[in-house]
Symmetry: C2
Subunit: 214 residues, 2 copies
Amino acid sequence: MSTEFSKTDRTTITRLPKRGSYDKETIYAILDEALFCTLAYVHNGEPFQIPTGHCRMGDKLYLHGSVGSFYMRELAEKKLPVCISVTLMDGIVLARSAFHHSVNYRSVVIFSKAEVISDETEMYRALEVFTNKMQPGRWNDIRQPNESEWRKTMVLAFPIEEASAKIRTGGPKDDDEDYALDVWAGVVPLQTTRLAPVADPVLKTGVELPEYLK
Amino acid sequence: MSTEFSKTDRTTITRLPKRGSYDKETIYAILDEALFCTLAYVHNGEPFQIPTGHCRMGDKLYLHGSVGSFYMRELAEKKLPVCISVTLMDGIVLARSAFHHSVNYRSVVIFSKAEVISDETEMYRALEVFTNKMQPGRWNDIRQPNESEWRKTMVLAFPIEEASAKIRTGGPKDDDEDYALDVWAGVVPLQTTRLAPVADPVLKTGVELPEYLK
C-alpha cells in the first residue's frame, strides 16, 4: 500500500511547492490533531463553508450532525463534491523585512464526496472516536446515545483519497543583505492549551473530577 | 449607521438560530482575534479552499499574497463570489450524555467579492495593520517593503456586507433526567497561547529582544 497520495491537478501545491507533502502519515497526524475542519461545497453555483468537528478512522474522515441539517442532507443526497481543510498555527515568524514575515503552520486540504454511514457499528465507533478525540477517556464515562438520539444523528464519511498538506517550519529566511540589520528576528511559537476544567454549577453533589481530566 | 448586518438567505442561521448574531461589533471582534481565515471559491464548478492570514480595516477584510498566486489572480480578475470563514475554539463542553457534548466557539461567515487594492496608501496601511495584528508593535521595527517587493505583492479587499456569526458559550445543557447521573460535567476551556520568543540562531550579535516581545 502506498504511503503517499497521488498528486492531482487539485492537490498539487504550486505556490512554494517545497512546503507540500503528500505523505499519508503526515496528513493523518494533522487531521487527528486539529479540533475542527472547514467544509466547503457549492450550492447554486456559489461557495459555502461550514466549520465543524471531525475525526478520522483509517482512510476516511467522519463528520456528524443533525438529520435536520440542510447541508448534511444536501451532501448526503446529492453526493456534492466537497473541499475540506484543517489548519494548525504553530508560530509567528518574525523576519527582518516586512516582506519575509510568515507563519509556521500545518494545513491539509482534501477533495472528496460524502458517504452516509448507515451501519450502526461504524456510526457508533465514529461517535466514540470523535468524543475521545475531543476529550480522551470521555466515551466510557457518559450516557450513551439512546434510540431517539440515534435517529436524530447523521454520520457522513469522506474517503481520503485526494489530499495534500502544506507545512512551514523553522525560523525566518531573510534576504542576504538584511541579516546585517539591527532588527530582532525569530519565532513566537503558538500553542493551544487546555485549561483546568470548570465544573457545571449544577453538578451533582459528590461527583468528582475523573482521572482523565486531571 | 446600522449596527447589525441585514440577514440574507445565505447568512441566516437556521440550525440553532439562538446562536446566530448579526451584530457588527461582535463579528468584527471575532475577525480581529482570529489569526487566519479560510477562503472558499468555485473553480470549474467545484469547491476550493485556501487558509490564509487576514486583517480588517473598517468594513473590509484584507488578504494579501503574491501576484503570482493563481487563486489571487482568479479572485481579482473574475470577481468570483467567495465565502470566508473564521473560527475560534473556546472550550470543550462535556455533558452527561454523549448526545449533548458540544464545543464553545465563535465563528463568522462572510459572502463577498474581491476588490484589488491599487491605492498605495491603502495597500501599505493593510500590510501595516496585518503585521501589527500578527505581532503588535512589529511594523515600525522592520525593514519596510522596497520597490521590487511592492510589485510582487497583491492586496485584495473584501467588503463585509453579508455576514453572520455563530457563537456558543457556557456549560453543558443536559436532558432533565440526566442531571441525576454520577457523571462529571463542565467545560475544558481552550486557549491559544504565545510562548516565549525563540531567536533566529543567526541573529546579529548585540540585537536585543524588543520591548513589544517581552
